[in-house]
Amino acid sequence: MQTFDLEANGLRGLNEALQAQSQTTNATAWEVVNPRGSHAVAVGLDAPIEVTVKGSTGYYCAGMNKQATIHVEGSAGPGVAENMMSGTVIVEGDASQYAGATGHGGLLVIKGNASSRCGISMKGIDIVVQGNVGHMSAFMAQKGNLVVCGDAGDALGDSIYEARLFVRGSVKSLGADCVEKEMRPEHLEILADLIERSGVDAKPEEFRRYGSARKLYNFDIDNAY
């Protein structure tokens, strides 16, 4: 286990050390102590390593992550795992705005609640929130799955493209072009897999599915010429 004291050694040193790890590194387990809400902790990683952050982080923790497993033992500030490509990010506490924004792949698990715009513009990432999500979550969501074990706030899935949204609790309101959809066997299968991988105590049958009505996909033109 490599231990890195962020307060003593600074952000540049941390990210430089983590980004330097390769596919075959022996230093596969890292512990970051004294994060104290620092921004951009463990960003741009690209190796199959495990990083445990012992406390809460500021903006963009685990941004653009590839391959790595990053465990935040606290809460995460705005944009946790933004634009993640692959790997796993787990937040023990709550996550602020834009969790998993524009993520292309990988799994983001938030054990507490996520604030507004969770999964905004997501492009293939899987996000599992064990608590509630705030308003405008999955805004312009393109691909991937957002699983909300609690409730969803206003305007869920506004202007959504092809992402799948699964909510166990209530939805305060749906955004433009977002509708409830039939839960087919393939969706239950996706949910079962995500529930298992994220360690959630829930059953797929308890969720409802939401997605795009696809009515905004083309301009409404009365008489095109």
Partner: protein, 447 residues
């Protein structure tokens, strides 16, 4: 006298200055279709521009440099504030961001070839980085846009600089548009979108709002790329003093300001013509912001929007810019709107030099299209050569003017070298009306 007597003088038909034939045609078009007009390009209305400025040249009190013999340098370094690897360009004219999707792969390759041959940079757009573009671009700026289409850390690291796009001159406050005709299989895959939809990209970034957040976003980008790359912040020209100030405070290495004549691949005509301010109006205010922060030349300023000639380049530099950027002019150099395609422009209901339906994907010149047959018309090698030639001519022109003003580097041009032909231009450029020592708003005057 009978009313229908042919000998009675008649009132001539008079067109309204308010309801012109163009306006009436647009009303009819709107009534027929129920959708606003979408087009490409920048503002077509006449606004104060670089044509309204003149260089004074040499006189008894200033001596010129010999036209072809005396040295007049054109190089520029961008990103000297924080980046470990600033960009070094041979000429102060860069190629603006234009997306693969809006443009064909051949056009993007041609831009890379021409820019590289001329010793300057080119820029990706709202569709990610293509291998063709990276391969042919010696210096490539990677745009970081609200949509984040195709955004990934590998391409980010392959870039030579990163441009955080807050806005653009054609549509400050507006997002992107790419209509279904141009969402081919490859474009759809790069953007993670369904094929054939009318795609609207977001008008603001998904994970930051305001300058304080921007500072943290820039920190993240620097951390991911090892503090190597210059970070540009691009804004549409609206409030140049404040936007420049905030971009600098957020940590930008380079500020890019795009005036309303700057083009777009597609947006509403009403947006293009009615939002933002002219390029001429933003340079001095941006420079004032940099000077107030003691950052002029420390943070570089790139100006774009309607740059067409070496004269425009020289005037922008004289007003305080470090470099300029061209988009529409580069497309024309590649072959866009060429009269040789007139028959086809006519079939599209337009004419050469007026064609702006770039969003429809039917560009006869093969530039703003994803149609395989049309795009194959553009030879990237030949188009790249034309762009290189054009950049060379602009550079030679700018050098000619700089030498005439006695400058051995184009960046030594200064506002004192300029006068204005109109009151508006004098006020915006803050240089004297020709033949006077006064401009509207000059400190210490009553006006």
């Amino acid at each position: 006298m009978a009313k229908d007597d042919k000998h009675v003088p008649r009132t001539m038909p008079v067109y309204s200055s308010t309801f012109t034939p163009e306006i009436n045609a647009e009303i009819r078009r709107a009534a027929a279709t129920g959708i606003y007009d979408i087009r490409g390009g920048g503002a077509k209305r006449k606004v104060p521009h670089f044509d309204d400025l003149l260089f004074l040249g040499a006189s008894v009190s200033r001596y010129p440099l010999e036209g072809y013999r005396e040295r007049c340098d054109t190089n520029v370094v961008l990103g000297t504030r924080y980046a470990k690897k600033p960009i070094k360009l041979d000429i102060p004219i860069t190629i603006a961001g234009m997306s693969f999707g809006a443009l064909s792969a051949q056009a993007k390759e041609a831009l890379g070839r021409g820019a590289s041959a001329a010793g300057t940079s080119t820029t990706t757009g709202d569709g990610g980085m293509t291998p063709e573009e990276r391969g042919e671009s010696k210096t490539l700026v990677y745009q970081y846009l609200p949509s984040r289409y195709g955004m990934n850390p590998d391409d980010l690291r392959k870039a030579d600089a990163i441009e955080v796009v807050v806005g653009q001159g054609a549509k400050p406050g507006g997002g992107g548009m790419l209509l279904g005709q141009k969402i081919s299989d490859r474009v759809a895959a790069m953007r993670d979108l369904p094929k054939g939809i009318d795609q609207r990209s977001a008008c603001r970034h998904p994970d930051w709002t305001g300058p304080d957040d921007l500072e943290i976003k820039i920190l993240e980008l620097r951390e991911i790329t090892g503090w190597e790359k210059p970070i540009y912040v691009k804004v549409g020209a609206t409030r140049p003093y404040f936007d420049t100030t905030l971009a600098v405070k957020a940590g930008a290495d380079v500020v890019v300001i795009d005036g309303m004549q700057g083009g777009t691949a597609a947006t509403q005509d009403v947006f293009i013509e009615h939002v933002g301010i002219p390029t001429l109006a933003c340079i001095r205010e941006a420079v004032r912001a940099l000077e107030d922060l003691n950052m002029h030349r420390e943070v570089q300023l790139i100006v774009s929007g309607g740059i067409r000639s070496g004269a425009d380049v020289a005037k922008a530099l004289a007003l305080g810019a470090d470099a300029v950027s061209i988009g529409t002019a580069a497309m024309i150099a590649l072959g866009d709107n060429d009269p040789k395609w007139e028959d086809e422009y006519r079939k599209l209901g337009t004419t050469a030099d007026a064609y702006d339906d770039w969003h429809e994907g039917q560009d006869p010149a093969g530039i703003s299209t994803q149609d395989p047959e049309l795009s194959s018309r553009l030879d990237p090698v030949e188009a790249g050569r034309r762009l290189r030639n054009y950049l060379k001519v602009m550079t030679l022109e700018a050098q000619t003017l700089a030498r005439a003003c006695g400058k051995n580097h184009v960046q030594h041009l200064e506002p004192e070298d300029l006068v204005a032909l109109t009151m508006e231009a004098a006020a915006m450029a803050q240089v004297p009306l020709a033949g006077t020592s006064w401009w509207p708003g000059k400190p210490g005057t009553q006006f």
